[in-house]
């Protein structure tokens, strides 16, 4: 069994109003060192596979087909044995 940890983030070129709002709130908390905030999604998937390569392949496919929309999002993931 493998555990895939996936990060889906808004592409750099896309404005993130949600991140901006959170940034404003942090500024209100006087956390002046925070320069920028961007918000994404974290997804975990358990994958029934004996090989890591296969688990990575499944994760890649899930990201491409459903978990991320390439028009507006990028994704990155790691896969570890559990």
């Amino acid at each position: 069994m493998f555990l895939a940890k996936i990060l889906v983030t808004l592409r750099k070129s896309i404005l993130d109003p949600q991140g901006k709002a959170v940034h404003h709130a942090l500024q209100s908390l006087r956390m002046k060192d925070v320069q920028e905030v961007r918000i994404g999604k974290f997804i975990e998937m358990k994958i029934d596979s004996a090989e890591k390569a296969r688990a990575e392949q499944v994760t890649e496919e899930a990201c491409k087909k459903l978990l991320a929309n390439p028009v507006m999002e990028d994704y990155a993931f790691s896969v570890e044995k559990i």
């Binding site: 109003p17 949600q18 507006m72």
Partner: protein, 241 residues
Amino acid sequence: MTKLKLGVVVYPGSNCDHDAYYVLKEILAQDARLLWHKDSAIGDVDVIVLPGGFSYGDYLRCGAIARFSPIMEEVINFANKGGTVLGICNGFQILCEAGLLPGALLRNASLKFVCKYVHLRVEIAETRFTNRCKTGEVLHIPVAHGEGNYIAEDVTLRRIEENGQVVLRYCEADGTVSGRANPNGSVNNIAGIMNERGNILGMMPHPERASDPALRHTDGQKIFRSVFESFVLQENHQILT
């Protein structure tokens, strides 16, 4: 003309499905029917309507899960064969997720859910969805969405603008396209687009909410009546040729 057969797809979480059905069936006297998302067949229909709402609770991304509903395979086949498909609000999001329309819809720039009447400029009247309007005409139709901020990559945007695929744009009452008239931050004030072939329209505003005369606003009827008209034109064309 015989009544048009329009199938309104119902997803778990759709909430404008019945409004669309009611307007098509009761106000415009067509043969409308509801299609359950788990059906794998769309049956004998002329037009598919993907209604507004929050299919699958907007989980993951709006429309992302509905796009894989059993019925979608047939809807995509129908669309690819040139069948007329109208996606309203969440329906527009589903069409983008399904890759039937270019681009995507992001969270409104204001981060707020926007529910109000807007003005829409008809950019091109020679379409299946706007032939009962004039190019440049301003329609008064409400929006109600939290994620209607249309974006597309630069090349895609240029292409859809050059091809005349941008059908509706948010504008002021006099037709001026301005930032002030833009309710959600959509690039170029885009409110509705077609695919290249012109058989699929996605729009964020709700024509079905401005169609019943009892509500005093009926501009939405122009969109539906244009679709009906496109079938009449097609029929006449067949008779003539």
